[in-house]
């Protein structure tokens, strides 16, 4: 039997967005499916709102909203009747009209789901997950296929739900999404949680032992480059774009600015690059590879 998950351990809290970050096939969706009770893991333990999520448990299901990666939408239905049908299974659903308006479902409401674009289907699937006004929300790749505008709408909505005290668990393979939304991130690779923390914690941790940071700047093309001190490397990466690698101390910057002062160079742009979640992710993925 294929072992998809090796050692995944995570917690999600109300009022927080917990993100499972990983590349395709890392085990994010399998983790979610287990947490939602759609799949029974061969080992380990899972608690959802204090209960075992596996099996039919309508009371538990009524408190949990799920947005599946493939949506699970019946192709021959129109979005709004489907949403109203699902909402009718809950005693206290959300304000469906407000939700329809918020996600602009009316704009394609006359079409069957079969004829909707990927992003439109995503919005319908999100609406279904929210229909029962859940306490816990699982969103599998919620931004997949969304244009920038609907992405903003969806992100604002997710953030509001977090502020309203919902526990939100989402998966993504997009660093940008994770960085923008998450309160807490678990990096998953090959079925293991390889790192966890807030976005800034993760970035800070990756900085350790990585004091060197590149400095890039723009100036006149074709400058005569001086020989830098040992450990530094200066190059013109493209016309007018320069990059100094190996900067670890303030003195290194001092060397750079002294050169500019000597030659009367005033850069038009200067950037001391900080690391992004992407660097962190790549680093952990690389470590896994070597292990």
């Amino acid at each position: 039997m294929l072992r998809v998950l090796e050692s995944v351990s995570l917690k999600a809290y109300p009022g927080q967005i917990t993100t499972l970050l990983g590349s395709n096939g890392a085990g994010k969706s399998t983790t979610l499916a287990c947490a939602q009770g759609l799949m029974r893991p061969d080992g380990g333990s899972i608690e959802l709102l204090g209960q075992d999520p596996y099996g039919d448990n309508p009371e538990l299901r009524a408190r949990v909203g799920v947005m599946l990666q493939d949506g699970g939408l019946p192709p021959s239905m129109r979005p709004v009747p489907l949403l109203r049908h699902v909402a009718s299974l809950y005693r206290n659903p959300v304000d469906i009209d407000a939700l329809i308006q918020r996600l602009d479902l009316e704009s394609f409401g006359s079409r069957n789901i079969r004829r909707l674009s990927g992003g439109q289907k995503q919005r319908v699937a999100l609406a279904l997950a929210l229909a029962g006004d859940p306490e816990v929300l699982f969103l599998d790749e919620p931004s997949a296929g969304l244009d920038p505008q609907s992405r903003q709408v969806v992100f604002d909505l997710i953030s509001e739900l977090r502020d309203a005290g919902k526990a939100i668990v989402l998966t993504t393979h997009l660093m940008d999404d994770a960085q923008r939304l998450s309160d807490y991130v678990y990096i998953i690779d090959k079925g293991c949680t390889v790192a966890q923390g807030t976005v800034s914690e993760l970035i800070a941790r990756a900085e350790e032992g990585h004091d060197a940071r590149p400095v890039s700047f723009s100036a006149t093309a074709g400058l005569a480059l001086p020989q830098p001190p040992l450990g530094l490397y200066l190059a013109e990466t493209s016309a007018g774009q320069y990059r100094l690698d190996g900067v670890t101390t303030p003195e290194h910057l001092n060397w750079l600015t002294s050169w500019w002062a000597r030659e009367s160079i005033l850069p038009t742009q200067l950037n001391l690059q900080s690391r992004s979640l992407e660097d962190v992710f790549l680093e952990f993925a690389q470590k896994e590879e070597q292990a």
Binding site: Q36, D56, R61, G65, G72, P75, S88, Y90
Partner: protein, 253 residues
Amino acid sequence: MTQVSTESNAVSPLKRILIQGKYEALQMLSNGEQLILAVVMPMIALFVLTFTDLISDIAERTIDAAVPGVLALCVISTAFTGQGIGTGFDRRYGVLRMFSTTPLGKTGLIFGKVIAVLTVLVIQAVLISAVALLLGWQPNPWGIIPGILFLLLGAAAFTSLGLLIAGTVRPEATLAITNLAWILLAGAGGVLYPLSMAPEWLQPTLSALPSAALGDAMRDALIDGHFNSPGLIFLVLWAAAGSFAAIKKFKWN
């Protein structure tokens, strides 16, 4: 996060099943192919059998010979072929998964489908009976209650078999298998005409089919007012075996 809300946010189980049953029934009735299978084909069978001599020997009046088998065919159309194809594609598109994350759950989904099958079956039976009565059908009054019982038992057996196929093979294969089975059963499975009219060497095999048990029991009931006990046993066994296999083998995605 561990707090337990006093009142469930799910509507009552019965209400959930009825809501889902209505939804599923509307899905079936709004699908053109399903309507052809559920209503048009049985209606054609009714007219062909009534206005030809194909089965005129088995009852005093041809229409009385035709109607019981046509009602049995309605069961196979809806419970087996129509429901099987619908479920197969729902499984493909992840619709079963989606609904099992709602308060409906897997149990609610199955019961919803049963309600939908029964609803459509009632509509079919009313339509066919109404047309048949206009054409002069005179069912044996003693056979009406047994007839309804056998229709329900047949629906149970064929629903479980349809779910078994839909839950184990690709939807395209479900489409092919259930349509082919419909044609074969309608043509030679003891549904529309009694097995006694089939070649003798085939009769033992065919008589084990749920279609033959259903068809013959319907004819015995509605023509002669006779309760077909072996048919009852056969259908109960098929329903039990089909349900058991479907519960064991059904894959939700």
